[in-house]
Symmetry: C2
Subunit: 283 residues, 2 copies
């Protein structure tokens, strides 16, 4: 089996996205909590900056030896009327500044999808590409890469008009430097083309900007908030990590579990402990 | 817009899949009900044969001037232990004989997916291909084409390890004559590659064996049984019908709505009436 050839995940590569303890811990508690368990990478959400201010956020990060993988997020950019489109771009620029201030590794850009009443999926995809091109100008200036995260086709109508690694790679090819891909296994694990498209990111070392892990549960009871703990579902996480590393990625491996039905209801200390254990045993 | 170039759907091309009135009508009621509304194609389920016997089924079809688009179904073929795999193949052979008896246009083969405890998606995909190759021998002899229907990636873990038109086309290329594709818009509408993969079916006139319509609702409340009536969701049905016809398909356009939350609770006469009206206005 391929598993045998993938080296154990080094603890210093582990990151936790704040979403994983979103209902239990705010930004400060998450930073301190993850650090307590020896984790020194955080996927941060902007609500921490809203609550504490950028100076205090920087102090908390520094005091806890914590680096930021990504600042979640800019977008949605499409599915909006003209006025909201402009304010989405303005907000994305603010997010770029914030990401630069806290030295986040990248800024994920949630696409959005069809506006109410529209069936023009191809149109919103074109519009998304155009808006990314516009956002790339300040992103390059700020030195913060934009991250495209393909989301599962089951959310194609409402959350993301970009749904596969193929689409994300095509967009990167079209848009040039300053943009890359955030690969979340939950979104793309099913894709026959996954290995080939991961290898495609390897042609340009900087293209893979992040690697998120969780698991696909059977049955899945909610289309957004029922992700599983690594090892509790059907995704061969070690196989996919092997592909990602074969493509040249050696950055953080980030735990990101949206789970209103289970993990968000648990003691966050246990969530972190079990997550780290699973990183050793199945990721 | 492309809509302008697609001719109105001729009523004689409309088919209804029994699934659409599955909770209200049995096979006999469906055949008589659809015929009453001027529909002369039915997507039949095998429970009609179980209940009435093949001779009576043939009589009901003939008496109502009804032809069968497909007999649903063979499979699942994978995700089974060895004993169940053999009985799935035996059952699929029986389905082939039944499909031949009632002159069904094709026999859809539900793949199935991961067996309990497995994460080997690539392995079950290979196994599915091997079992299709085995089933193709009697299928060619019976003169009944096997139909591959890619199912949405959200059911990749449990219902179907084949999830895109690309995968279905690749399988057809690999397996040779006697096998084709059933395109259900609900499963594939989101795919950036859809138009190209539909055109790919056109290289071999016989490859597209069926075209199913329903709609994708926002929000979707159930991952299997919440399909929408054509026009109530976000799928540009006329655009996709245009692609299908440009690829050379001129067979039945089949209404297939799985809807435990809505349409299965309604008066079936109304379901048929509204379906036919929507075929005129949005398909």
């Amino acid at each position: 089996m391929t598993h045998g050839t993938v080296a154990a995940l080094k603890p210093e590569r582990i990151a936790i996205n704040q979403a994983t303890t979103r209902k239990q811990w705010d930004f400060r508690e998450a930073v301190e909590g993850y650090a307590r368990h020896g984790v020194h990478w955080i996927g941060a959400w902007r609500d921490g900056i809203d609550k504490y201010g950028i100076a205090e956020v920087k102090r908390l990060l520094a005091d806890n030896g914590m680096s930021v993988t990504s600042l979640n997020r800019a977008g949605p950019l499409v599915g909006l009327d003209r006025a909201n489109r402009q304010s989405a771009l303005d907000d994305a620029r603010r997010a770029l500044d914030q990401a630069a201030e806290i030295s986040a590794g990248c800024l994920p850009v949630l696409p959005g999808s069809l506006p109410p009443g529209s069936k023009d999926l191809s149109g919103v995809r074109t519009q998304y590409q155009d808006m990314l091109a516009e956002l790339l100008v300040p992103a390059r200036k700020a030195g913060v890469p934009l991250a495209l995260e393909p989301l599962h086709p089951m959310v194609a109508a409402d959350r993301s008009c970009m749904n596969t690694m193929t689409d994300a790679n095509d967009l990167c090819d079209a848009l040039g430097p300053g943009i890359g891909i955030l690969l979340d296994v939950y979104q793309v694990w099913w894709d026959t083309r996954l290995e080939a498209e991961i290898m495609r990111t390897g042609k340009d070392r900087g293209r893979l900007l992040g690697f998120h892990v969780s698991d696909w549960l059977v049955p899945t009871r909610d289309m957004v908030f029922d992700r599983g703990m690594m090892g509790d579902g059907v995704i061969d996480l070690r196989l996919i990590r092997g592909w990602v590393e074969a493509a040249g990625y050696d950055g953080p491996v980030e735990i990101e579990i949206f789970s209103s039905l289970d993990w968000w209801t648990r003691n966050p200390e246990d969530v972190v402990k079990i997550s780290l254990e699973r990183c050793r045993t199945v990721v």
